[in-house]
């Protein structure tokens, strides 16, 4: 099995540790992981802003980069969802279609494809899990409170395998943090208010860390926490799952 690592543009530039932990984690499970050096971005910032018609070149680039892999794995629910729903290629339509069906967000790849049942990791802290909307409602990584159906959560299933971790309950289990891509600047006031409220829920429930399967939500919440000079930190789920045993 040959796995292509898709690292979202902002993780590549601002949070390389998340990508390193993702890579190491996949390698821990004996997978052969390749990282196409020519990758940039999935095109979601343009598409969600109404400029899907400008994503042709990023689509072609993405298709070229990842056509050769059995699976494509990414530490981002949002970018994965965008590729799954919107990747098209005029030059290689069959490859693009193939990629759409073989791209996985990291936690669903671990639970559904390689089906791991234990992780050698330790993270002895109180952690609040932020269920990012695109991952949860888009990729169905977890059950949604609006639906009347049995509960499940792929990220939580993995976190429960981590030594010493204490998952804190949240008052609003799956409310959006307000990042929303370009929404975070176009609708600055509402975006920040949503972020403040989301962070407050974690703090109220005594979290020391906020984690998620999406770094974009965490980047937004980190910005708010730092501005508030809060001791609460954000950590991507890949960083927890790859945290060394003490």
């Amino acid at each position: 099995m040959k796995v292509g690592l898709f690292v979202p543009c902002y993780i590549n530039q601002f949070y390389p540790k998340v990508a390193i932990d993702t890579l190491e984690l996949l390698e821990k499970f004996g997978l052969e992981v390749g990282y196409p050096l020519n990758q940039t971005c999935c095109g979601q910032p343009m598409a969600n802003s109404g400029y899907e018609h400008l994503t042709g070149s990023t689509n072609e680039l993405f298709t070229q980069n990842f056509a050769g892999y059995d699976y494509i794995v990414s530490p981002s629910g949002s970018c994965t969802l965008h590729i799954k729903d919107h990747l098209h290629s005029d030059e290689a339509p069959a490859e693009a279609k193939n990629i759409r069906s073989r791209i996985y967000e990291l936690t669903e790849f671990l639970t559904d494809i390689i089906k791991i049942d234990n992780i050698k990791a330790s993270f002895p802290y109180r952690v609040g899990l932020h269920q990012s909307c695109h991952g949860q409602r888009g990729l169905k990584l977890a059950q949604m409170t609006e639906l009347t159906a049995p509960a499940f959560s792929k990220p939580e299933q993995l976190l429960k395998m981590v030594n010493g971790i204490e998952l804190v309950p949240l008052t609003r289990a799956d409310e959006c943090c307000g990042f929303g891509g370009t929404f975070c600047v176009a609708e600055e006031a509402v975006s920040v208010k949503m972020g403040k409220d989301r962070v407050a829920d974690h703090i109220k429930n005594n979290a020391e860390y906020i984690t998620a399967a999406d770094m974009s939500c965490l980047m937004h919440m980190e910005g708010i926490l730092k501005r508030q000079k809060s001791p609460v930190k954000v950590v991507h789920i890949a960083e927890i799952l790859n945290a060394a045993m003490v």
Partner: protein, 460 residues
Amino acid sequence: MSAGKDHAALAQVFNNDENRVDWHDETLWFVRAKRDRASHGIPDWELLRETASQIKHNVLSNMHNYLVQFEENALTNGIKIHWAADAAEHNAIVLSILKEKGIDRMVKSKSMLTEECHLNDFLQDNGVEVIDSDLGERIVQLAKEPPSHIVLPCIHKKKEEIGDIFHEHLGTAAGESDPQILTETARQHLREIFITRRAALTGVNFAIAETGEFVVCTNEGNADMGAHLADVHIASMGFEKLIPQRKHLSVFLRLLTRSATGQPITTYSSHFKKPRPGQQMHIIIVDNGRSIQLGREDFRNSLKCIRCGACMNTCPVYRRSGGHSYHTAVAGPIGSILAPNLDMEKYADLPFASTLCGSCSNVCPVKIDIHDQLYKWRQVIVKNGYSTKTKTAMMKGMTLALSSPAIFNLSGKAGRLALRYIPFAVNNGLNPWFKQRDMPTPPEDSFTDWYKKNRKGEKP
């Protein structure tokens, strides 16, 4: 879209008072939580949603036949039927019915369609007084404001503010804010209205093609009070209110109030089939853009809406921006996919007033793909040129940078350097991110840099 009047600007004003935002958010979240308990309390909720969605699907696919069937049956029942192509025609029909009877005062039950048509203003300009009889509607009417929510029209007002309005208009004591006293005052005031008005207008929740009757749902019984006492009953309905058969009501009535307020059923679900002796009953069937929406394949499903308001209560953006920030009669997620159909330029901002979190689609009792439609509207709006030049230039620049790995790596490096060494270049008031959030601490190397140093580059 006039400058400074878009959702973001109006929401920013709403957010100047953070305590009020908190209160608004908590109040609506309370309703959402009630909706959850009510929907989780019956075993077949998801089946009901699917069934309702399919029934509406059938209606939308056979609109013509059901409308003809409804008209025939309603005429047989003795109801007068009017067809209105747009808001102006609807309003003119209402006025002509009243004029024919020499009526210049009317009582009205809640109808978002008449809000959409701006009926009250029109009638007032033509010398007809209209009193809204739904308590929340009456309050916003006295305050000279439009409703901020389709089910809870004055949810944005605190009881103290309502007390002030009642003091000014209905003579309650200054500073009185006891809900029971205020409600009793409204009740006495409205009772006098019900008794003296010869014409009553109601909305329509469901119109049944099979029988030619219609159903009006209220919690206060105000539609019934108005209609049962008046000589003339006018019912205004958008044509999408049709359902094929009476038995289908059982599906919708179970869904409607559970979704809206968390109640098992409305207090009054009243069936109107024919005028009582001596009474006139009119139904105005309104298009006002609906047939255009029906013709837009991507947006057709928005016409399934039964106006429960669940998408507003669950929407984290609506809860923190208030209904008025949507500057349209139907606010929130559903309003944001209905409004651009009416006027794409005026409402170009609304599909962007969302994080696309998807909660709206999940609570929708008729399974409208609201957040997918928001995404699709964005594409349509930009393609039709209703975007700013700045945004288009920014997106083109971004596309260029992201299309080339070389430019991407270089600009990424430049960006990280700028953040590290000249943070004031980005950390200033002109950067909307920085206004209330810190920027990420930039690392020295990107992941690509790290990978080149630590692993051999892969070219599959």
